[in-house]
């Protein structure tokens, strides 16, 4: 995978939201209902996207019973963390040339303004020096 090639599994917006929410959570894990609120998905949608992420080894799913109620925990795996890191690097590689171009244009503009200001100052000082 080259630098600007995007991981299609993470590139899907809902899955990207899930990965971002997990990476920002304490211990990089979250309970299903909490995750659902954070990413704004329905139960069915979240389950489907989690299955895709699980198939690729990016998350692991743990089911527990607490006070006889089922609780599902989603953990970000090491492979998922690395994939997310690589994905963000790819996004940055895509926007980097644009950012560099903007920075360069800003630098040119700043130099032009400095030049202009110097010329205006020179024009204002010259008559004073001449008199």
């Amino acid at each position: 995978m080259n630098n600007t090639e995007l991981d299609e599994v993470i590139h899907q917006r809902a899955r990207l939201g899930i990965m971002a929410a997990l990476i920002a959570s304490q211990q990089q894990e979250a309970e299903f209902t909490v995750l659902k609120e954070r990413v704004g998905l329905t139960d069915g949608n979240l389950s489907t996207h989690l299955s895709v992420l699980e198939q690729h080894g990016y998350v692991s799913i743990e089911k527990q019973f607490v006070a006889r109620k089922p609780k599902t925990w989603v953990h970000l795996t090491e492979a998922g963390r690395v994939a997310f890191q690589r994905y963000v690097a790819s996004l940055e590689a895509i926007i980097r040339p644009e950012l560099d171009a903007i920075a360069q244009a800003e630098q040119v503009e700043a130099e032009r303004n400095r030049d202009l200001a110097a010329r205006v100052a020179e024009r204002q000082i010259r008559p004073l020096v001449g008199s």
Partner: protein, 218 residues
């Protein structure tokens, strides 16, 4: 729109999505931690205030309730941020529970000794507990909020001073009340600070204002 332009737009949108999600999650975590510290501090403050007016055995009942409430409130707050059952959360709560249980068992033992045998044990045992609680605060502070280190140091210092002046039980009592009030106010203050100035390092050691690449490259 060319392929490059579409890719660039998608990249920017996705970076914004990552940044928003990360910040939202961090703020939520921070708010829960802030509430946790405030609840904890308030319970301790009430506990210490009531202790002053109660007799020995009632103080122990009170402290048992306060200890249980602290563990309970921390569990509830952990649940609110969705990590009530995480391994580390369980480990933390278990540690608090063990410390509070140990502290209370010691208190009960002292009270029973005093009632039935009119014997008053050495003040070195509470000193050991003060130091255990202090070290617990310090280790928590090292991994989460630096403010907890100060509270831990206050406990250890009070423990050490009590050991030096252990013959003077009044000094121990006064020291305990002072440390209790100071640490309670400290916890409430830290909670309020986190509430008002949310852009501080979170318990994961990350800053919510970080760029996505900085977030993942820890």
């Amino acid at each position: 729109m060319s392929k490059e332009e579409t890719q660039l737009r998608e990249a920017l949108d996705n970076l914004r999505l990552i940044s928003d999600t990360v910040q939202r999650t961090r703020k939520e975590t921070l708010r829960c931690s802030a509430d946790g510290f405030m609840v904890w501090g308030l319970l301790m403050l009430i506990g210490f205030s009531v202790s002053i007016f109660l007799s020995d055995w009632l103080v122990e009942v009170w402290w048992l309730l306060v200890g249980m409430s602290i563990v309970g409130s921390m569990a509830l707050l952990k649940a609110r941020q969705g990590s009530s059952l995480s391994k580390s959360g369980r480990w933390l709560l278990r540690r608090y529970a063990i410390i509070w249980l140990g502290y209370n068992v010691q208190g009960w033992a002292f009270t029973l000794l005093a009632i039935f045998y009119h014997a008053y044990p050495t003040a070195y045992i509470p000193v050991v507990w003060m130091i255990i609680i202090g070290v617990s605060f310090i280790t928590n502070g090292l991994f989460s909020y630096p403010g907890l280190i100060i509270i831990g140091l206050l406990y250890v210092a009070t423990g050490a001073l009590t050991a030096i002046f252990q013959s003077n039980s009044a000094a121990f009592g006064n020291g305990l009340i002072i440390i209790g009030v100071v640490s309670s106010v400290g916890l409430i203050g830290m909670g309020l600070y986190l509430r008002w100035h949310g852009r501080v390092r979170t318990s994961t050691g990350l800053n919510p204002s970080l760029k996505p690449s900085e977030v993942v490259s820890r």
